[in-house]
Amino acid sequence: MPVLVFVETGDGKVRKTSLEAIAYANKMGSDVTAIVLGSAQIAELESLGKYGAKKVLHVADAKLDQAVIQVYASVLTKAMQDEGADILVLANSSLGTPVAAKVAIKTNASFASNVVELPSTTNGFVVKRSIYTGKAFSFVELKNPKKVIAIKKNAAEAKEIGGTATVVPYQVSLNDADFNTTITSSEKATGDILLPEAEIVVSGGRGLKGPEHWAILEELAKELRAATGCSKPVSDMGWRPHHEHVGQTGVKVAPQLYIAIGISGAIQHLAGVNSSKCIVVINKDADAPFFKAADYGIVGDAFDILPKLTAAVKASH
């Protein structure tokens, strides 16, 4: 029985977290059917085979180019039925998570979001979830025959394993009543690396003293091909946009490397970064609490260290 994977695209490109969802489903040992909604390039669809998809359903209806959650939920529910899939896997996101929840209700499935590991099936179908904003985990059994799993970033490694996928056009009649929300406009942040998906994040806090000093942080970020983030006070003061705010009430990141500059490390900020593999803290206050949560630390002034670090990264290429 296949596992259905909802694959999200952004600007025509498949999201990396969706590739992780394919890898996750593949590692569960089932045939993976990926589904892509809206316009997409055939090469991009075929490439999903390299990550473990056997089949790719493509609903090429232009009405799906705007992601209306209710519409997507109905299409995925129909696809699960048509494919005979009992399990839907997708990546946690502002689109995927609510869509998943609705599919779970429609199909009477057990649901879990924030899943961080492959399921264990030795004693029921059990998934591990990240809870208390990264401060703990829970193991929950998904009891119903149908299951919907929304995975957190890094739950599986998106790796090319060299398969091929058959792309199948898939027709679904859309229900007008499902278009119950209308997106009138949207704006994307500048820069091409999305903060929630970034492998390296460079974040600045009040220690940078003002928005005019962000250029030196951005230079380091550019050299590392990193996304930029900031602390809550920085976004509250309007130095940086809200979508860069990393923390308990902002974006939770899970990069390979998180570099914090001039951030003291309040527990609310740590809640947003504690899933990072490696944390570097640069702060002129040797007593900054962030050092306790870091792997590497430098006590020093941001304006002194940042240019040196950028130069050192450049020299190491």
Partner: protein
Amino acid sequence: MKILVCISNVPDTTSKINFVDNSTKFDATGVQFIIGPYDDYALARAIELKEATPGTTVTVINVGGAETEPTIRKALAIGADDAIRVNAEPTDSFFVASQIAEHAKEYDLVLMGRESIDFNGGVVHAMVGEMLGIPSLSPVMKLEIEGTKVKMEREIEGGKEQVEANLPLVAGCQEPIAEWKIPNMRGIMSARTKPLKVVDPTAVEQTVLLQKFQLPAAKGAIKMISADNVAELVTLLKTEAKVL
């Protein structure tokens, strides 16, 4: 207009998390409980709407045992008119959404936080919307009502979108939808006598079952690098941490 605000009763954001009973139960010893920070934004926006539009009422609902009543009273002190407590342990998103949906039918607008900060499910709003057959959106950063139309700003990956929908509607909220409100003395006094109805939960099939909790592995010791030797950091990140 009738607004329902769903609040979670969660450990303060600075709490140390521990478990007892063979890692099957949260250790509440010495932990301060608060209105979920995101729910607090939803409540604040509801109170703003009430103040702006005469005839608007705000009801808060919480799924929890008697121990959550101080948190519910705080929401009443902030300005909600009355409260419902569904007398049950909030075990999972589906259970909580089912309880809320049972009481939410008569409301025009159902607000809550984008997620609770204990179990981080982030889906109760979507499930309630699905159960009631009405639109739901999250995370909503701005919400304005014009007649029966709701205009919202929603955060999406690396940006935001403007969205419109008609009432009735469910919204999961986050900053900067409103500023948190602090109860004043008059609010605290009047909260004591505001109606707080306790109801039994509706029977719900159990779809997920908690087996146990786990704390993350302890972090290793930090390695300090001299400010005069920044290049060493780059070397360590490459060769030791292998993240560059």
